[in-house]
């Protein structure tokens, strides 16, 4: 600024034309230079633009003047203002015959336009002409423009000329032609693939400059495919030799060094060609050694060449002599005062450390100096080096340093990077659980919002799965220490959201596991979190789910009383208010979670135990997506004449689903709004109604969906189970199939398999063997000596901790720290076999239960071990696990609801009608399939209690199946089983979905959380649960109809709670209407063209019309439902009178059964 002012006088002189520019331009530059603010500068530039706009279109402007205008345009654009109004003039200028004007025109267009700009087409012709020009300067100008302006489509237009120019007499033209061709290769490799041999040819060009230029494209080509150019190794080596021996003309010397830029490029190419190729490398040793010797290390460019030599040596096949020379150069670099050289030295050290770890030791103090250097670039480079040489012996020092640095910087980009590196190192080399947790806490605390969410999920998974040790004590220690530290940290203000999610999840899962902290303490903390981070819905969601888990565990552990309000009023009140608040939340997710919580804590001990098994987050859930367990039922129905299921996509287009939709469609076509989504609510509306009258009404279930059932005669009172069955099924499958993203449902192919594919594999996780963090093996196994140089104590200490003491714990260093449980058996065996070696024997003695080396991260230095990796029969493992969990007493506390134990228990327990239900619930929850097949087979056989042993025996375990069979006989399976089974299935799947999506979101791709189907599913789940919970006492019912079978009692019970259902139904329908409106609004928001294409009134009309239609339709449904309810009530009355009559009962049973079935299926299918 100052300086520009002082030269203001001189500008006057310049304005005489001394700079070849007019006074105006000088004034412009001057005033911009003197501008005191950005605003002022902008004003000046805008004024300039105005005047240029005006003047550039004046007729008859002298060409010189025009040229200046163009340059002023370029200048204006460089300052960040739009000069597009002048582009066309720049294009015109390229047509000029005068070289200077033409060049100015080309310069302007290359700066203004990108290769896809519309004006390019006007230039291509000019370029073609200019490439043929006799004046080589014009050709050069055109070639420059070609590099920037020609895109893939226009390459063919100029390609022939460019290729021709490769043989031009002027070397400058040849060089530029090569560059242009190289550029074409960049833009579209296929367009010039037939011309690549030209580059090889040009390598032999008589002009060294052209040869040097050829190295650029060759470097790229060799990077992509080194093998096709191996034959050139000898040529490159001989060229390099000649260059290094000063055989090139003096003109190519730079600072007394012969053509250093060509040397550098050649060395880069040799590094590529010699990588992993001993034969090729041998050709290079001599010349690289020569350069090491000869190269002048006093100049900057000399060091550049030396550095390139080091890179080459580190890349090609190892040669000890060269390595030594490289190490010497590195030593020189590191000792230098220049930061640039230190930087290069650190970088080179990072490259060599892979080959020869000892080198790092010689320079440990230099490295520490660099680490403490104020220069950020150098510091970061050094951290990169440390990252490469981390092992378990120095991980604590390095990671602590990294975290300190991370805290000190503001650059989010680098903060993120260094945070993820810390996490990676900590996961790999953590010396203790405690340290690991502490480190992760620090990382999350300071960079929680920057790290990838996956890191958080990894941490959760790690805590859940443990470090791979076999004994549970270490795992539970890890968890306790995590819980403890989180409880400590949770009170701090402004924690990152990701961290809070981890905290909430861990507290929920393991907060009460070790009994150190009371549930009330932890729930209190969780409530605090939810309150103080009230704007963060994700955190709130995690907190609520954690609350739910804690309550569930408490109840399951039999401490039910604790959570009743009268016993601990204060904290319960807090939660109560939170839950109430969330029940009314705008976020449907939070609302849902809140309702779920309320629902779950209302269940009894056993149900909760199976919905929310303690410490079961690692369990795998296998989901039978095709619902093959229903196949038997479907087949039976088909035999009875039911219609087969038509996949949705086939259904579409065949028929109009309803008149409701018809109207929509008309409107849709009129203004292009997407109304397709209207169809979605329909099935849900229909299927949501059934719960009202599940037990009683059969007609309500196959809700008139004209498309499917047009032909089906609707015989009103006669319960046509064939009808209801498939329709219920269809709806249900529809929902399920959508949820898991299966495109079509293929049950029509009626396979008979009842495979037990929906099961929880108890205790055996089938997570991928090794976590991602382990996959990167660090080759850091090198010995280290104590620092020998006398130097400040602190530095020495640091050096020692960084470089020293590696030998003792080395074995562990190269192995990952984290192993999935599944591989722990294998790793244990592996460990023992390994303990023959000294190091690991050491290890085993020192820390027997710390780290088990996983078989996949073998230390490369120990081939013996590698070859002895054993494998363990997974089935045996499973068996063991099954055996170990067979103790019935452990049910409440064991990891997962143990079905074996349950079965052993069930027959013993008293079975009043009231107890029977939860028992069956539990059973089905634990093993859905046999239960289902039983239920369905029973149903089909008309309510008899005959079971099909062959189906049962397909369960996971014969013994279990037999026990189950016995149980079934004893209990008298009720048709309602199916409904409950499905309900349980839903409950479980929801819980597991949460667990998995929080612990390992990768398992379920995205979870489909926001999908419409799923929300419907959730809704139905909620309704079902609520209806169950609000029912009248079952015992009363049982008393009243004591001579009824369980099944009948159950069915009757359903009837009694009908009122509840009705009110729910009302609620549902209103809700659906609202939802539809919401959806429409959302759609409108999503549709970018909406506001342009249609007017709002239209849309409003449409919306209200649609809404009205739907409400109308729903009202109709409701009326119908009520009518049928009445009818059924009458029938029940009748039934009660005719109770003793057996035949009458069986008829009624048939009706009930079908009703219940449809209830179950529909509630599922919503």
């Amino acid at each position: 600024m100052e300086q520009l002012k002082t030269i203001g006088r001189e500008l006057a002189m310049g304005s005489q034309g001394g700079f070849g520019q007019s006074k105006e331009f000088l004034d412009l530059v001057k005033s911009i230079g003197e501008a005191r603010s950005k605003a002022e500068e902008d004003r000046i530039v805008l004024r300039e633009i105005e005047s240029l706009k005006r003047r550039i279109v004046e007729p008859g402007i002298p060409k010189r003047k025009m040229k200046e205008y163009i340059i002023r345009l370029v200048y204006v654009e460089m300052l960040g203002h739009d000069a597009s109004f002048g582009y066309i003039h720049a294009v015109k200028m390229t047509h000029d015959d005068n070289l200077v004007l033409k060049r100015t025109g080309y310069l302007a267009v290359t700066l203004f336009l990108n290769e896809d700009h519309d004006l390019i087409i006007l230039i291509v012709n000019t370029i073609q002409k200019d490439l043929k020009s006799d004046n080589y300067l014009i050709v050069c100008a055109a070639l420059n423009a070609v590099c920037k302006l020609i895109n893939e489509e226009t390459i063919p237009a100029v390609l022939p000329q460019v290729v021709e120019l490769l043989g031009h007499s002027k070397e400058a033209v040849r060089k530029k032609a090569i560059m242009a061709l190289h550029r074409f290769y960049h833009k579209s490799p296929s367009s010039v693939s037939h011309l690549l041999s030209n580059f090889r040819k040009k390598l032999c060009d008589s002009d060294p400059g052209v040869m040097g230029a050829t190295l650029c494209p060759l470097f790229d080509l060799i990077t992509n495919d080194a093998n096709s150019y191996k034959d050139l190794v000898v040529s490159f080596v001989s060229i390099l030799k000649q260059v290094a021996e000063h055989r090139l003309p003096k003109a190519y010397d730079y600072h007394q060094l012969p053509a250093p830029f060509i040397q550098i490029r050649l060395l880069k190419i040799l590094a590529l060609l010699g990588s992993g190729d001993k034969q090729a490398s041998e050709h290079m040793y001599t010349v690289v050694g020569d350069i090491f010797r000869k190269c002048d290390s006093s100049s900057n460019i000399g060091n550049a060449v030396l550095y390139e030599c080091i890179c080459c040596v580190s890349s090609i096949h190892l040669n000890p002599k060269l390595l030594e020379a490289a190490a010497d150069v590195i030593a020189r670099f590191l000792k230098s005062d220049s930061h640039n050289l230190k930087y290069m030295g650190i970088d080179a050290l990072g490259r060599l450390i892979k080959l020869s770890p000892e080198i790092a030791e010689q320079h440990q103090l230099a490295v520490i100096d660099c680490l403490e250097d104020p220069d950020d670039t150098l510091k970061r480079k050094t951290f990169e080096l440390l990252y490469k040489m981390t092992k378990s012996s120095n991980v604590e020092v390095i990671v602590d340093r990294m975290i300190d640095y991370m805290i000190s910087i503001n650059d989010n980009h680098y903060k993120t990077e260094i945070a993820s590196r810390c996490v990676e190192l900590a996961e790999q080399f953590a010396p203790s659980n405690h340290w690991f947790i502490q480190t992760m806490n620090k990382v999350f605390e300071h960079a929680g919002d920057l790290v990838n969410i996956k890191v958080a999920h990894n941490l959760m998974r790690l805590i859940a799965e443990g470090f791979g040790e076999d004994d549970d004590t270490a795992d539970s220690q890890l968890r306790s220490s995590a819980v403890e530290s989180y409880l400590h940290i949770i009170g701090e203000p402004k924690l990152p959201s990701v961290f809070l999610q981890v905290i909430c999840w861990v507290l929920g899962e393991y907060g009460t596991a070790d009994g150190k902290f009371s549930a009330s303490y932890i729930t209190g903390k969780l409530c605090d979190v939810a309150e103080s981070y009230s704007s963060d819905e994700t955190v709130k969601g995690y907190a609520v789910t954690a609350l739910m888990k804690i309550y569930a565990f408490e109840i399951a552990a039999g401490r039910k009383l604790d959570i009743l309000p009268e016993n601990s009023v204060i904290w319960h009140m807090e939660c109560q208010s939170l839950i109430e608040e969330l029940s009314a939340s705008h976020s449907t997710d939070l609302q849902q979670r809140a309702y779920e919580l309320q629902a779950v804590i209302g269940l009894d001990v056993r149900a909760i135990g199976s919905i929310m098994p303690s410490d079961a987050s690692c369990e795998d859930i296998e989901v039978d997506k095709s619902l093959s367990f229903l196949n038997g039922y479907v087949e039976k129905s088909l035999e009875k004449g039911a219609q087969s299921y038509i996949p949705e996509n086939e259904r579409f287009g065949m028929v109009n689903i309803s008149n409701f939709r018809n109207q929509d469609q008309l409107e849709v076509t009129s203004h292009g709004l997407r109304f397709e989504a209207y169809e979605l609510p329909k099935p849900s509306v229909q299927s949501r109604t059934p719960p009202i009258s599940v037990a009683s009404s059969t007609e309500l279930v196959p809700v008139p969906e004209p498309s499917y059932y047009r032909e089906t005669p609707q015989t009103a009172p006669v319960p046509s189970s064939t009808d209801t069955g498939p329709s219920g099924l269809k709806l249900r499958l529809d929902g399920v199939q959508k949820k898991w993203g299966r495109p079509t449902y293929s049950s029509s192919s009626a396979s008979t398999s009842n495979s037990s594919s929906l099961k929880v594999v108890n205790g055996v996780t089938q997570v991928d063997g090794v976590s991602s963090g382990n996959s990167k093996t660090h080759e850091t196994s090198y010995d280290s000596r104590r620092p020998q140089v006398e130097i400040s104590e602190e530095k020495q200490k640091l050096a020692a901790s960084l470089f020293g003491g590696s030998s003792k714990t080395e074995r562990r260093s190269s192995t990952g720290h984290k192993v999935a449980k599944a591989s722990s058996h294998a790793s244990e065996k592996f460990h023992t076999s390994k303990s023959t070696t000294i190091y690991s024997a050491d290890n085993a003695v020192e820390k027997p239960n710390l780290v088990q080396p996983p078989p996949d991260l073998l230390d490369l230095g120990e081939p013996i071990v590698a070859s002895s990796a054993p494998s363990v029969d997974p089935f045996r493992q499973l068996e063991e696990l099954l055996d170990s969990t067979q103790d019935p007493g452990t049910f409440g506390g064991t990891k997962a609801p143990d079905f074996m134990a349950l079965y052993a228990e069930t027959p013993a327990g008293g079975r009043s009608a009231g107890v029977a239900l939860p028992l069956s619930l539990n059973r089905d929850g634990d093993n859905l399939i046999p239960g289902l097949s039983n239920a369905s087979s029973n149903t089909v056989h008309g309510g008899t209690t005959v079971t099909n042993p062959s189906q049962i025996s397909k369960g996971p375990n014969v013994k279990e199946a037999l026990e189950k069979d016995a149980l079934v006989r004893q209990m008298g399976v009720t048709p309602s089983d199916l409904g409950f089974t499905l309900l349980l299935f839903l409950l479980r799947s929801r819980y597991m979905e949460k667990a998995t999506s929080s612990a390992a979101p990768a398992k379920i791709g995205g979870g489909g959380g926001g999908s419409r189907r799923q929300s419907d599913l959730n809704r139905s789940f909620k309704l079902a649960i609520r209806s169950l919970l609000t029912s009248c006492s079952k015992q009363e019912l049982a008393k009243a109809f004591s001579n009824f079978s369980n099944a009948e009692q159950e069915s009757l019970h359903r009837l009694f709670i009908q009122d509840e259902f009705e009110s729910l139904c009302l609620e549902t329908q209103v809700g659906t209407a609202l939802e539809t409106v919401e959806q429409l609004v959302e759609e409108k928001n999503l549709d970018p063209l909406f506001s342009e294409k249609s007017n709002i009134m239209d849309a409003v009309q449409n919306l209200s019309m649609a809404k009205r239609n739907e409400i109308h339709y729903l009202m109709g449904m409701l009326e119908k439902a009520e009518e049928q309810n009445r009818c059924l009530q009458d029938r029940v009355e009748l039934l009660r009178q005719k109770m003793p009559d057996d035949s009458g009962i069986s008829v009624v049973m048939e009706k009930f059964k079908s009703g219940i079935l449809s209830y179950g299926t529909c509630s599922d299918g919503i």
Partner: protein
């Protein structure tokens, strides 16, 4: 390859910008601003290198050199050698110095298109084409010799810069002085 060549003065005003991939004007300004912001905060006597992934995307390095009131900045990827790039800046400035006899900021501002000609000789399509300043000079002189418009002829560079160098000297040190740095 080289991604961009920037010349920015110490107040953050761009004096020469050349991007070898297309960027919108707004993006260019944003990059210039962030580069300037980073350079400003760098202490004296530190390395001339920086990793600028956060500004120019992955695999981006930057080499800069501070001459008097100007920063010369080259942005490139890992296929280039940092020290060599530093010398390329040197080549560029040496050539400018030869062209303008004691180059200063004003020369650069007013001879904007000439600067581009020089740069085009050194770097073509993001690749280093020529590193000998004499060669570059020869090419540039040939261009300016050739077919200048007849009416008021702009002075040949030597004359031009002589008139400038008498009075304006924004660059305190000669190139030979920088070389020894």
């Amino acid at each position: 390859m080289i991604k961009a060549v920037l010349v920015i003065n110490t107040q953050g005003k761009p004096r020469l910008t050349k991007f070898y991939g297309f960027l919108t004007v707004e993006k260019q300004q944003e990059l210039i601003r962030s580069v300037f912001g980073v350079l400003c905060s760098r202490a004296e006597k530190v390395s001339n290198f920086m990793e600028v992934d956060s500004i120019f995307g992955p695999d981006s390095r930057l080499v800069y050199k501070h001459y008097a009131t100007l920063y010369f900045i080259f942005v490139f990827d890992s296929s280039e050698n940092e020290l060599a790039m530093l010398d390329l800046i040197q080549v560029f400035v040496e050539t400018l110095d030869k062209c303008f006899r004691n180059v200063c900021e004003l020369d650069i501002v007013f001879n904007y298109n000439k600067l581009h000609s020089i740069l085009d000789e050194i770097i073509s399509g993001g690749q280093v084409l020529e590193t000998s300043s004499t060669e570059i000079m020869r090419a540039v002189e040939e261009i300016s010799k050739c077919s200048l418009p007849p009416s008021p002829p702009s002075l040949p560079p030597s004359v031009m810069s002589e008139s400038a160098s008498n009075s304006i000297s924004l660059v305190p040190k000669t190139v030979s002085g920088w070389r020894s740095r």
